[in-house]
């Protein structure tokens, strides 16, 4: 299960599918693609696991993405977002 790190307000600006996001903890700013922002916003609503995220967001990602590859791609994305202290995994 994943959730947004407490204390992150996820303030972001998006233009043409690319976004910049302010990291409340580190004070850094990150360049993210729109897909990553969708993942963050979905997790802000409630903690979810990678498979559920993939199912919910399937229609937002490119049509030609292999349906089986999406959960793995999302898992990779979550690992990257965790490294930035934006999300964290919870013991299930």
């Amino acid at each position: 299960m994943w959730r947004v790190v407490p204390g992150q307000s996820l303030v972001f600006r998006e233009w043409d599918g690319e976004a910049v996001l302010y990291n409340d903890l580190s004070g850094n700013t990150h360049l993210l693609d729109g897909g990553a922002v969708d993942v963050l916003l979905a997790l802000r609503a409630q903690p979810l696991d990678a498979a559920t995220l993939a199912a919910r967001l399937a229609d937002r990602f490119d049509a030609d993405t292999d349906a089986d590859a999406l959960p793995a791609a999302i898992a990779d994305m979550l690992t990257d977002l965790a490294r930035l202290d934006l999300v964290e995994s919870l013991p299930c």
């Binding site: 303030v11 043409d16 690319e18 302010y22 004070g27 360049l31």
Partner: protein, 305 residues
């Protein structure tokens, strides 16, 4: 209003040597103390039109540039900058007193003036539209800036773009434009009537000279400008003029990377930069001929596209 040119030379020297010359640049009052003749002459030449406050009041920045003492005085004279009793930098050869002065004037603002998002960029205005030119050293920004200044553009700054946090207006901070190495000759040829300081050699950036800011720009120091364009310039020998639109998110990151105090401002900086990106169109720009660049910018400022 009293300017540097209104002070008799002796009075200028006395203030610098004594209570300090309080020089206004943009929104700042700078109290300057120095016993170095090259610096006094540089100020008299390049800051002639700038307002001067009476000494003894409030100043934003206090700078002291003096000859370093000791035996060194006689063999290799040096200039030392001190700020409230602390000398943050190593001394430089005395001949570099004026470039050092320009450099520490910048340092004072970029390290402390956090009422603004301060971008390492030139900013000029024409026809009511301001163009911001962020660029790392060596990109030709200052040459381009100097060229535009000599072709009627209002200079707001050649080095530090001050973006007001609440409303995104750009505050003028016109100061001498620094030129390095070949740029000096290029601008002399491009604008034979321009007032330039004597070149100073062997600085850690090569030979440096400073171009006097136009009086008209200094006179309008109270008029903010509205930014319309952010242009990342790059000089490339032989390159035709090319203007390539830039994605806004990438432009955001490009400006953040070129801002002195973006990290200090935290969320406020993020918000202000987002608004700046909303208000402007961003481009990457390649050029080799100054005239081509000047013509293109003129069209952008006139037509708004």
């Amino acid at each position: 209003m009293l300017t540097v040119a209104d002070l008799p030379r002796r009075e200028l020297a006395a203030r610098l040597a004594g209570p300090g010359l309080v020089l206004r640049t943009g929104p700042f009052a700078n109290r300057i103390r120095s016993d170095i003749p090259q610096l006094r002459d540089g100020i008299a030449l390049l800051y002639a039109d700038y307002p001067v406050d009476a000494p003894g009041g409030f100043a934003d920045f206090h700078l002291s540039l003096r000859r370093a003492g000791g035996l060194r005085r006689f063999f290799r004279p040096q200039v030392c900058f001190s700020h409230e009793g602390v000398s943050p930098f190593k001394p430089l050869p005395l001949a570099q007193a004026f470039p050092m002065f320009e450099w520490v004037m910048n340092w004072c603002v970029t390290h402390r003036a956090h009422s603004w998002l301060i971008i390492h960029a030139a900013v000029l205005e024409r026809h009511g539209r301001a163009i911001i030119l962020p660029a790392p050293p060596g990109s030709g920004k200052s040459t381009l800036c100097a060229a535009l200044v000599t072709r009627g553009w209002r200079l707001l700054s050649d080095e530090m773009t001050l973006v007001r946090l609440d409303d995104g207006a750009v505050l003028p901070l016109p100061r001498p434009v620094s030129l390095k190495n070949e740029s000096i000759g290029i601008i002399r040829a491009y604008a034979p009537d321009a007032v330039l300081s004597p070149p100073v050699e062997n600085t850690n950036k090569g030979t440096i000279a400073h171009l006097k800011a136009p009086s008209a720009s200094i006179a309008r120091v109270g008029d903010v400008a509205q930014p319309a364009f952010i242009v990342f310039p790059r000089y490339e020998a032989g390159a035709p003029v090319t203007l390539t639109p830039m994605g806004r998110a990438r432009a955001f990151m490009g400006v953040a990377e070129n801002a002195f105090n973006y990290q200090v401002l935290g969320m406020r900086g993020f918000t202000a930069l987002g608004q700046l990106i909303d208000a402007t169109a961003a481009f990457e720009f390649r050029y080799s001929k100054l005239d081509d660049a000047v013509q293109l910018f003129e069209r952008m400022a006139r037509d708004g596209v």
